[in-house]
């Protein structure tokens, strides 16, 4: 007889290695990083045990208790208590502990026992514990707790063998009717008693080394120094934004010449006509103009992944807490905001760790102001066309500096907006507490960084192949049809739908210095910001012929004034257009209103910033 699917749930304190274990068991690639609060959603995966039992395992956000204080913790609570609608209770709960730090997990486990679900205590990160000289009397611990205990090293091959064997052994004898759920929220006295009991059990079963992790304390002496720490943080961010510009250049040029060659090849082999134009102008110069930015996007992700895996993120939140507090932001908002440099969508999701509703809302509203990687193509294109690549002081690149300035402008405006929200809307605001575990540093693991980069790069290319590609087809179509009447002397594109649409909107955008080509490019930019670059590529390619297709940057330099270019940069600091971000805001706030508010305030800011930039630039003679 086929046994029914066995349902496992991974529960434990934040950062104990639940997701690492989930990935090891199921072969998935869910996000793992060294700070509390990485997982904010429920994720299900499947595997087969050595004895052939089919298993479903659910990874859950970390939590210190079942009280559910923030949206992510509520997900865990509801799942464990079977409150989520249509949810089946897990057959077996894997309570995952960081073996170097058992106190909080053992207390959580005592609380979990009241739910009546069968349970295993998984002593994860056992490699680190052994290296530090922590020794655990596993048998005794199991007896004291009344649950089976197993050690595991989630990040090492074969490190979960014992757990798999134990799962088989236990699943064979899970009673059909597990004991009753007697859980209710613990009173303070019960909590205290549970922690006492946990401490007693640990004193009996675990011997701890006298010395804490000396490496962590030595690094923290510098990194958490009140002044030195902030200098280190500023330096890291500065190098990161410089690198996006400076390091990526050679690779980007390589990709660019690859696409140029491909374009030439198509041009040479196909007869002149619609197909040639579609492939060369629509596909290759459109999609290609976005794909060349892959190196930059990889660099920004590399930096963020390294910081996350090393364990720096929680420290940065600590350093920034009071400083951001001045602008009405909570320290926990730092990590979501920093991840928004990659993309605002995971950033907005990550705000689930913020328990105070108003703090969370403020963070969601300003996350799209962080310069996400989709803006990089727009910035880079314009900067390389208009800003000379001079070195300043020998090592700082002027283009990189402008890039840094744009990032800084994004951050500054986010802080200002947040300050205004606090000032006008949330007057009666008592600061919610900031409490955050600072995990020990870990050497970033090459494999997990590589996987992280690979998944991001794949996502980017997939987007280029789907969203961006289909937008390009649309743009090419609009820019090519209707075809000009025979014998006309004006450029063909002037007769196209794109020109008609663009020229209809252009008057609205004329005060900020945008021409009709930009107006057309902004519309498909709604689907994804970088499409604007691709759209400009296609429109100018069709307008200008072969030479234009190859060097969109040079074309811009001749067609736009410096004032228009700067105005476009200012626009994109705010640029409200990203449909997926708006959809996530709507989902996470549960309200159309907040989505509309975000869209409108960013649109207003974008227009105002461009208007100001353009007019100042023109007044200074850059028109």
């Amino acid at each position: 007889m086929e046994l029914p699917l066995l349902h496992l749930a991974l529960v434990g304190t934040p950062n104990s290695g639940k997701t690492s274990l989930f990935n090891a068991l199921t072969g998935s690639r869910q996000k793992v990083a060294n700070y509390p609060g990485v997982t904010v959603e429920r994720k299900e995966g499947f595997f087969v045990t050595p004895l052939g039992r089919q298993v479903s395992v659910v990874d859950l956000p970390g939590t210190y208790s079942l009280r559910g204080r923030s949206p992510d913790e509520e997900i865990t609570r509801d799942f464990v208590l079977g409150k989520a609608s249509g949810e089946i209770l897990p057959d077996l709960v894997l309570c995952v502990a960081d073996s170097t730090n058992l106190r909080l997990t053992i207390r959580l486990l005592l609380e979990l026992k009241r739910t009546g679900r069968p349970m295993i205590l998984v002593l994860n990160m056992f490699d680190i514990a052994s290296r530090r000289g922590v020794s655990v009397d596993v048998n005794r611990l199991a007896k004291e707790l009344g649950v089976p205990v197993v050690t595991s090293i989630a990040v090492r091959k074969g490190g979960t063998a014992d757990l798999l064997a134990l799962t088989d052994e236990i699943s064979a004898k899970i009673p059909a009717e597990p004991s009753e759920n007697t859980w209710r929220a613990l009173s303070v006295a019960e909590l205290r008693a549970a922690q006492r009991e946990a401490d007693r059990i640990i004193a009996d079963c675990v011997s701890l080394p006298a010395r804490p992790d000396t490496l962590t304390s030595r690094i923290d002496a510098v990194v958490l120094h009140p002044v030195g720490g902030l200098i280190v943080l500023a330096a890291i961010l500065f190098v990161m934004f410089q690198a996006v510009f400076a390091w990526a250049q050679p690779l980007m040029e390589l990709l660019q010449s690859g696409f140029d060659a491909l374009g030439d090849f198509v041009h040479a082999t196909l007869p002149a006509g619609l197909l040639q134009s579609f492939l060369q102008n629509g596909v290759i110069s459109g999609v290609g103009s976005v794909i060349v930015f892959l190196p930059q996007i990889i660099i920004i992700f590399l930096f963020i992944l390294l910081l996350e895996d090393f364990g720096y993120m929680a420290r940065a939140a600590f350093l920034m807490d009071r400083i951001m507090g001045g602008a009405g932001l909570h320290g926990r908002a730092f990590i979501p905001l920093l991840s928004s440099f990659a993309c605002a969508i995971p950033g907005i999701m990550a705000t689930r760790v913020i328990d105070n509703k108003r703090d969370r809302l403020t963070t969601i509203l300003i996350a799209p102001l962080m310069t996400c990687s989709a803006r990089i193509p727009v910035y880079t294109l314009i900067i390389s066309a208009f800003i000379p690549a001079k070195d300043i002081g020998g090592f700082i690149n002027l283009q990189g500096l402008v890039m840094f300035g744009l990032y800084a402008a994004g951050i500054t405006s986010a802080l200002v907006v947040s300050f205004l929200i606090k000032f006008f809307m949330l007057r009666d605001y008592a600061p919610a507490p900031f409490m955050l575990e600072l995990p020990d540093y870990k050497v970033p693991r090459l494999k997990s960084i590589a996987i992280g980069i690979y998944t991001r790069a794949k996502m980017f290319l997939q987007r280029a192949g789907t969203t961006i590609f289909s937008m390009m087809v649309l743009i090419w179509f609009l820019a090519s049809f209707p075809q000009p009447p025979a014998g006309t002397t004006e450029p063909a594109i002037d007769f196209s739908l794109a020109a008609i649409i663009g020229k209809a909107i252009a008057p609205l955008l004329a005060p900020v210095g945008f021409n009709w080509q930009i107006a057309v490019a902004l519309i498909p930019g709604m689907a994804a910001r970088e499409v604007a670059v691709a759209a400009l590529g296609t429109v100018y390619a069709i307008e200008g012929g072969k030479e234009a297709a190859e060097q969109i940057g040079q074309v811009l330099a001749t067609k736009w004034s410096l004032a228009t270019a700067l105005s476009m940069l200012a626009w994109y600091i705010f640029a409200p257009q990203c449909a997926s971000t708006l959809a996530v805001i709507r989902r996470e706030t549960g309200s159309w209103t907040w989505m509309a508010v975000t869209f409108s305030y960013m649109l207003v800011l974008a227009y105002a910033a461009s208007l100001l930039t353009y007019n100042v630039a023109v007044a200074l003679g850059a028109g």
């Binding site: 303070v188 807490d321 955050l436």
Partner: protein, 85 residues
């Protein structure tokens, strides 16, 4: 026997043992029960050894506290509820 004091007033380098929690003195935005629960959930219980490892820049806030063998960042306002000696 050292004098009792709130952890919220401790300087960097201070080491001591938690005597009791007293949420009503902290003036936190949280209710007394909620604050006390959260502190206990992070391991701040009677008898735990604490050491103030680091301080922030603005008003030396927040502080990073070693509680037995983990490090927790808290603001001084909430740390006022932790009475140490």
């Amino acid at each position: 026997m050292r004098r009792e004091m709130p952890l919220g007033l401790a300087q960097r380098g201070y080491t001591g043992v938690i005597q009791h929690l007293s949420a009503k003195d902290a003036g936190s935005a949280l209710s007394d029960i909620e604050l006390e629960s959260r502190l206990i959930e992070l391991g701040f219980v009677e008898g735990a050894r604490v050491e103030v490892l680091h301080e922030g820049l603005v008003r030396r806030d927040p502080i990073a506290v070693r509680v037995d063998n983990i490090t927790i960042a808290v603001r001084r306002r909430e740390a006022m509820a932790i009475i140490v000696a």
